[in-house]
Symmetry: D2
Subunit: 313 residues, 4 copies
């Protein structure tokens, strides 16, 4: 059975793995990301790939990187974390490893992994929304990864949902990811706790002060029934549902997959997302409701997806 390597290039580490045709990870290699020297990233990748290629017969390599990847899956136009501009990553790595290479946006790779081997199995039209610092979006349409005309499709977190809203790292205001992401959840929990400490007793017990609240505190306090933490999840659920309803108006997918770190607390908010989505969907009553599911593959989804996308079909 043909094997490929998937590489997830993160801000702090580069996670590589040998992946089978049915999505299993046979072997792994880890390298720190030379974040201060972006020009050394290709060398670190090649080093990890070489290690794995010595132990397994692999056909190709798929790289997942945060940033804008061009439509030929070759060049990283812009990567905020690594300060890349028009980086010819495919060419660099291919020359170093002597294998076919493709580059993919990391959220696209994650979506593909979930579509092929995770919560999206059996679907044809899948929208994946990964909630972390921001929102990582990936879209599969008619069984194919959707990249857009120039590879920039699926930047779902940057739809504007609030006119003149909160500033976003992209330079705009009111982007969806400022209202429905892990960061947004924490920010809301802090505001709630500061506005009414009496509603946030457990949350403040865990965190010490509003400013010290992090995501785990919000999840833990919500499980203990803390009102401020639960209200933060309601806020997240409401905005998540709104954005999904907006995407349904455009894409009419068969299912949505909610991933990212926050999805570990899916039991705390996914039912409300489903209810709010059903209440806000345009044309409701005249169309089927898309499924809304938690991701299944966890952090490996990006590596597995990138490996699979490298496979020649």
């Amino acid at each position: 059975m043909a094997l490929t390597i998937g590489v997830d290039i993160g801000g702090t580490k580069i996670a590589s793995g040998v992946v089978t045709e049915d999505g299993r990870v046979l072997d792994r290699a880890l390298r720190p990301t030379p974040a201060d020297s972006p020009e050394l990233v290709a060398d670190a990748i090649a080093d990890a790939v070489a290690e794995l290629a010595r132990r397994h017969a692999v056909e190709a390599v798929g790289l997942g990187a945060a940033g804008f990847v061009d439509e030929t899956r070759s060049v990283v136009r812009f990567a905020p974390n690594l300060a890349w501009r028009e980086e010819p990553l495919r060419k660099k790595v291919a020359e170093l490893v002597g294998l076919p290479v493709v580059v993919e946006n990391d959220a696209n790779a994650t979506a593909w992994g979930e579509y092929r081997f995770g919560a999206g199995r059996g679907e044809s039209h899948v929208v994946c929304v990964a909630l972390g610092t921001g929102i990582g979006g990936g879209v599969v349409l008619g069984g194919e990864l959707y990249r857009g005309r120039w590879g920039m499709g699926g930047e779902l977190g940057h739809m504007q949902v609030v006119p003149e809203g909160l500033p976003c790292g992209c330079g705009n205001h009111g982007c969806w990811e400022q209202y429905a992401s892990g960061n947004a959840l924490v920010r809301r929990a802090r505001v709630n706790a500061a506005a009414d400490p009496s509603s946030a007793v457990r949350l403040l017990e865990l965190a010490g002060s509003p400013d010290a609240i992090v995501g785990q505190h919000v999840t833990d306090a919500a499980r203990d029934g803390d009102a401020a933490a639960l209200a933060a999840f309601e806020f997240l659920a409401g905005w998540l549902a709104q954005g999904l309803a907006d995407l349904a108006a455009v894409l009419d997918p068969g299912c949505f997959i909610i991933g990212g770190g926050v999805s570990g607390a899916a039991d705390l908010f996914l039912d409300q997302v489903r209810a709010d989505y059903a209440a806000r969907l345009t044309g409701r009553g005249h169309r089927p409701l898309a499924g809304i599911r938690a991701a299944e593959l966890g952090p490996a989804a990006g590596m597995v997806g990138a490996a699979d996308l490298a496979r020649v079909r």
Copy 2:
């Protein structure tokens, strides 16, 4: 050369035409829409098709209808104007005319017509936005009409752009088409004229009173430099640009086509749409700018698109 018939089923008339492979309309037939008797619409269509089929050798028939059409292009799930619910239009018409029939959403047919023979020629990823009473949306991705999992894709006018905004006919609040459509333009012009009649001298001269303003008044007054009318176009342009930027975040198309009745005044607002779009696009500076163009085919786009979609390829 193979010919097909396209049919545009409107609220007041049914426009049919014989269309060539390169998008020319050779012949036409018109029937009034039996709006009070939706069950007679299929008969009226068949009658017009029969008339055209007597004069031309045609291969197939494409029907464009306002409403939700299922993904098999057979059934109209819901048509607000004709009170259809789960109407098996394809089967009905096919039995009456003895030709292969497909049913398409009218805005999808329009988008396809512009993609194949109009402002979208040579593009692969096209988003068409028709500004009328509301917004009619159609999307072509990778050279294929995009329908979504259940045929409900491309309902672009129902993305929410203002939380708790104006009520929409779809039952939601704050939908894009309440801010960027022909109706929205007129509504804004009326508000502007009522708020400050001294800025709306020409507009009020044409219309008589704020309540009597219609679209043509706004266009004519704007051409004469009326401040209230120009401000209404600026309002339209700003919201149109914002929605296009949102769609670019999701779809990254190669071009947008602006159609519908308002597009006849494209010279009054399209440059501002382009400027606002460029200023609001997420990732601007790191990606190409999609073209923003006025539609070219006019009211025939839907008929021509429906005819072409009926063609076996």
Copy 3:
């Protein structure tokens, strides 16, 4: 008993009356407003006053005018309807009639009338909100009419309630009177009827079309249970309550009086205003609730109030 004359200078007519110390109108005189010749308004007023003064022994004259009146109650700084700028109305009329004259903002005069002889009797801190084309505001604090440092206090309708909201005649956006006035009620009813005609059957029966809806239609349809009309009143009530809650944060009045044409339909919305106000008032639970009452004097309130304000005390 000492008598004074009150004059209500409207856009189409000038209504004058002889008023007793306890607020009864003994006699009236009416003149058309020479709207095209603002310089003739003083003559028309003097003419009516002279007529009344021939029949009654009067002490003084109070004039109520729409517009900004300076803090010395002498000069109309700006009157949108009559195109006055820095009009020395007190001096002009006093010279013509040979009696002491004061000029008041018409909404202030109305508030004073209701405070002295209407719904505000027995109160010390009263906020009067008259719902018409816009919002006319008048404030009585500690038993005295509140004018502000320069006579411009009480322009309540121009608090901003929606950032970047609807344009207002004052040149700003999002003013309260764009959301809570007779005009706002009608505008909302039109939008509701256009968005969902099936919810507006009675309203459209009365009006013919959404654009033809006027205030009386909304009231009549609401009384008949029309959903779109009732929703328009709910919209009005919600925004009215929000503005009253904002005013209570600043002024903490003992009661609010709701006047103007719309107050004839007070039974349709005042209970909801009270409920929404109680739910939104800052500090609720720790403070008494101000009364919210319909005005009692009707259109005569302005004339009666102006007459009473002219009285030397």
Copy 4:
């Protein structure tokens, strides 16, 4: 010359002082606030007053307390920091000290201090806005402190400026103090720094991370030209100006005084507040512009104002 004692009851300390008729502080006494035992606060106050009264012949005592004070200046209806409910503070302290006592809201006392001896000297209609954790509001109208019908007037920070906006400690959403206060400034600076660290180099150098930013960092970074810090001040200035314009619509004051901790950085934002206010004031062009000035008395304003309000006149 008659002397009175002013007492500023804060959350951590009770500051008392002997104040002359012209607002000078002759002597001071400080006590820690027994925050865990609200019933002991009166004793601590009495203890400090007794100390001062031994050294000076004083006529009366004025107490300034955060919270709702009733209109008879006797009872604290509700004090969030000290968990008081219907606390008869005037009676308690008067019995202990054997002097006439009045109780005032602390922001009212501050406003009165500035009106009498600080930035409001010579004015008659003054609105004081103290920017700290929230907004402390105090209003002087016609040379008298304005308390409202039940003592709850001047809660300026709880006007709603954003519908469905940020949650506030008062239980509402979108209150002014969530957008224009010291806390709001810091929150915005954190959001700005997180959204675009490259614009916040100096700010992050001072604070270490977005979450660690405090007010002094924002001020210092802004003085060094940090873009994110300057943008936070612009945000503050814009919302401050909007609220002042709203207050001017209601109250038409002769001047606004901006106090509180943030006013130490008045040079960084007050000019913009003035410009934005002038651009947003309803009726601009037809009325004088109120002055907008930084407070002059600093933290002593509350004590001085409370002392002066205790004086019999």
